[in-house]
């Protein structure tokens, strides 16, 4: 292949390097107003009054909007498909506030600084209600009003036949996960433009599903879908945080009310406080093994906290059960799940959509099992990983080619597994302050949400008069170069140079319907549609060329960007000549349309190795070395794959060792990066990556599988296990902060 599999800078790298790439916060429209929000300062209660008079007195303030002067617009932030029947649980402006950070009011003013100054002057009076901030309080239902249940959802899933208990080795791993902040560097933002003459609303935002936003906003405002246009803007990272709609409904409601464009930009504190987090989970996982290390059963007891609104949490928990079966052969699996709702930030989509969470639980169990069985952790995994030809027992879908085994073997060799573990032991024996541990973790994921829901994607293409190609697909680049990957896929199929293929991102006014770029379906599903579409454009080119040459398409072939003939070596028609002929003589534009309906979802996994050093005096941890080996199928843009995987390692090490939104006794969550510690360049070693590319998918373009989400799944488990290996501990409370490590050492020694 000419382009696929060769590293390229992403499509907008130059604009991002010069600062010219336009993010939504950089936009400015004529007559635009700026909106700043007022958030609840209490965790639970009723808003009894909003006094905006002081704010309104500030010069340049156009309005203060809240539940007492605005129609009761309600929506469900998680809705992304028209057919989802989810409760409209969340109002644009809350009357009953459910967490510190719930939206109470919005102030519109001539510029952002004025809007923010005025927002600080809005006085809100509350009648407080009892609040639940912990699992215990939520389970007791202390925040429930009459008729409300403490447990919002409860279900059990069973897959396979329970094993006979005798002779099995049983381990139980207790894992508790804290709240995570996505920390996409670009804060949430929406620019809404309302044309009152046409009754048309245009929303510009970095979101993962333009059609999802349209569904929610159009229904909320009772507008026809074709009057609501949603344009996906350059996205400064998402990691799931821009998969749910929080700013778009607000900006839309205010723009329509004011009949002018508005810009709503959150700052970091507001994003952390109000937008979305990955909520806490408490898990007890019981795993049974045969004496030889073969897994017999996995049983999960899980308590999950949705936070203030249910949003995606019921679905997230169901997905988690499915993800349990994507890495190891599990003859019997059972999960009992309960969901509660506390008065804390709302839990939502997070990179990996429960694969990372269930991996933390499973890998914690695997570590304990390796100790209980006295087996090497790599060997134990080798015995149990899914193999080519296996079937996902939960979904019934074939795993196809899978290379976890190879990842383990290759990684163990490259990371000098056995030797390094011996070196760690020697280091630990000769040192009374620092302890080192080396660990491995595997995890699996998917490439689409099929077969949980039907999945399909469409693409359209047209060839311009000069032989260049314009592509219409609804892609939502999160910043990892989906645009470049699509250009490569299409240019490869059409044998064109990369710059002859152009595509813009999702825009409901122009690009075909699509569910959105989440569930790792971007390349695997939408990319496949683009590849198929390019193939049918090839046919169209051949048909037109055959007409011109008075032959049949099967006598023609492509070579470079030209059509050649089997019968006459002198024939070489450029795409431009074919396009002209088609337009001028056949009176037909060279266009193609394709649809790809998904009926597969192969196994895709990663195996990470981490070496971590723990300072037993301070509890501080340092990642000394890291290797990620991934089964990616054919990688489209290898260096970008590697960069994404390294980003996942950065995020996973942070999640395992330090990142946590903590909730104060008054319900205030951590809302500053000075207290939420992200990994910087000096904190990390050179993260090594190896791609294993021969486990190709049947249906992904050129055999590609997903990478962005799955790469995050094994990262935190590897770093966490390395700490436990270093200390000989069984810490299950994630993140393993210095305080928790010191507390453990004080209790158990090391």
């Amino acid at each position: 292949m000419r382009l696929v599999g060769v590293s390229h800078p992403i499509q907008d790298a130059r604009g991002k390097a010069t600062g010219r790439a336009r993010y939504a916060a950089d936009m400015s429209l004529p007559h635009m107003t700026h909106v700043a929000m007022v958030f609840s300062t209490i965790p639970h209660g009723y808003v009894t009054a909003v006094d905006g008079s002081e704010a309104l007195a500030v010069e340049g303030v156009y309005g203060v909007f809240h539940c007492f002067n605005t129609p009761e617009y309600c929506f469900n932030r998680y809705r992304s498909q028209y057919s989802q029947t989810l409760p409209l649980e969340e109002p644009v402006f809350a009357k009953r506030v459910r967490f510190v950070g719930d939206r109470v009011a919005a102030v519109a003013a001539r510029d952002m600084e004025t809007a923010r100054r005025a927002a600080a002057l809005v006085k809100v009076t509350y009648e407080e209600l009892p609040c639940a901030l912990t699992f215990e309080e939520a389970l007791e239902g202390v925040n429930c009003l009459e008729g409300e249940e403490a447990v919002k959802d409860e279900f059990t899933v069973e897959v396979g036949e329970p094993p006979r208990a005798d002779g099995l080795v049983e381990v139980t791993a207790c894992t508790e996960l804290g709240r995570l902040h996505h920390a996409a560097m670009e804060p949430h933002v929406c620019v809404a433009d309302y044309d009152s003459d046409l009754d048309e609303l245009t929303l510009y935002s970095p979101n993962q599903s333009v059609h999802g936003v349209r569904t929610v906003v159009a229904d909320m405002l009772e507008m026809p879908y074709n009057r609501v246009r949603v344009v996906k803007t350059t996205m400064g990272g998402s990691f799931g945080s821009k998969q749910e709609w929080t700013v778009e409904p607000v900006a839309a409601a205010v723009a329509r009310r004011l009949r002018r464009p508005v810009k709503l930009v959150y700052d970091r504190a507001e994003v952390m406080r109000s937008i979305v987090c990955r909520g806490p989970m408490r898990a007890e996982m019981t795993m049974r093994f045969h004496k030889d290390g073969l897994l017999a059963s996995v049983e999960l007891e899980l308590l999950s906290d949705a936070g203030a609104y249910i949003a995606n949490s019921a679905d997230y928990a169901r997905t988690l059960v499915g993800k349990m079966f994507r890495c190891y052969r599990i003859p019997y699996g059972r999960a009992h799940i309960r969901l509660v709702s506390s008065n804390t930030p709302v839990s939502g989509s997070f990179r990996g959509w429960s694969s990372p969470e269930v991996a933390l639980m499973l890998e914690h169990g695997m570590e304990k099992a390796a100790r209980a069985l006295d087996m090497d952790p790599v060997q134990l995994r080798l015995k149990n990983v899914l193999l080519p030809g296996d079937t996902d027992p939960k979904s019934g879908v074939p795993i196809e080619e899978i290379r976890t085994r190879e990842c383990l073997l290759r990684g163990a060799e490259r990371f000098r597994w056995a030797e390094r573990r011996r070196e760690d032991a020697a280091f630990n024996a000769s040192n009374d302050r620092f302890r080192r541990g080396t660990a491995v973790a595997c995890a699996g994921h998917g490439n689409t949400y099929y077969p949980r829901y039907n999945d399909f994607a469409s693409a359209e293409m047209r060839m311009c008069e000069d032989g260049s190609v314009q592509v219409e697909v609804s892609i939502h680049d999160h910043g990892c170069g989906t645009g470049a990957a699509f250009q490569m896929i299409v240019a490869e199929a059409l044998e064109l140079p990369l710059d002859k293929v152009r595509l813009k991102e999702a825009d409901t006014a122009h690009t075909p319907f699509d569910f959105g770029c989440y569930a790792s379906r971007g390349i695997f599903v939408v990319g496949r549609a683009a590849q198929l579409c390019a193939r049918s454009l090839r046919e169209e080119i051949l048909k037109a060329a055959a007409h011109k040459l008075e032959t049949t398409p099967d006598r023609l072939y492509f070579e470079g960007p030209a059509v050649r003939s089997e019968d006459d070596p002198a024939v070489s028609l450029s795409y431009q000549e074919v396009a002209w002929y088609s337009l001028g003589t056949l009176c037909r534009e060279l266009t193609a349309q394709a649809k790809h309906t998904v009926d597969s979802n192969p196994g895709v996994t990663g195996t990470h190795f981490a070496q971590v050093e723990v300072d037993t005096w301070t509890g501080l941890t340092r990642v000394l070395d890291y290797l990620a080996v991934h089964d990616v199928g054919q990688s489209i843009n290898p260096e970008m794959c590697a960069a994404q995987i390294q980003g996942a390692a950065q995020m996973g090490c942070g999640a395992a060792l330090r990142e946590e939104i903590e909730i104060s006794p008054k319900g205030q969550g951590t809302c500053s990066l000075s207290k939420y510690h992200l990994m910087n360049a000096a904190d990390l070693p050179l993260i090594q990556v190896e791609l294993i590319q021969d486990g190709r998918s049947q249906d992904g373009p050129y055999g590609a599988k997903s990478v962005g989400e799955v790469s995050f799944a094994p990262a935190a488990p590897a770093a966490a296990a390395a700490v436990n290996q270093a200390l000989g501990s069984d810490l299950g409370r994630i993140p393993m902060t210095p305080d928790r490590i010191l507390e453990y050492i004080a209790k158990e020694g090391c």
Partner: protein, 156 residues
């Protein structure tokens, strides 16, 4: 206050409040939106610009501190349509994903190379430790800065 200072070598005169942030002057008043706001409190580095050749957080720098001084933003690096070596190396080394950290990262790297034209990878990592990139593991960023340094031949 009346503020006279230089932005990317051009004299700029503004009537403004002394406590306004340099970040807002750049983005709102001058339309220089290449400088980004990621945290508003000096923690992420997305807003980094040069003030008299030194990297500063424009979210923490106030108008009152700017009289007569020289500010360089990302928009000031490209000369006659040609990218600065650092910008080009960031593109070519695939050091750019979502790009939200990129302009601040490049400005911090610029300040580093002005002071230390031949940094080791470790020195690069330390110099960039105030710039958060959530998308990557910093590997390509460090490579880009190393390569820019060597292409500049140790001189900026």
């Amino acid at each position: 206050m009346k503020l006279d200072f230089f932005v990317n070598d051009e004299a700029v005169s503004l009537e403004t409040e002394p406590q306004r942030r340099l970040l807002d002057l750049l983005r709102e008043d001058l339309g220089l939106t290449g400088t980004k706001e990621g945290c508003s409190e000096g923690e992420c580095g997305a807003c980094t610009v040069l003030l008299d050749g030194k990297a500063v957080h424009s979210c923490l720098t106030l108008a009152a501190q700017l009289q007569g001084r020289h500010v360089t933003t990302i928009e000031g690096l490209e000369k006659n349509g040609e990218l600065d070596i650092l910008q080009r190396c960031f593109v070519e080394e695939i050091a750019i994903q979502c790009g939200f950290c990129t302009t601040g990262m490049i400005m911090s790297a610029k300040a580093l190379l002005l002071q230390n034209p031949n940094p080791t990878p470790k020195e690069i990592r330390t110099a960039l430790s105030g710039n958060i990139c959530r998308c990557s593991g910093y590997v390509q960023i460090v490579n880009a800065v190393s390569r820019a340094a060597s292409e500049m031949g140790g001189g900026v």
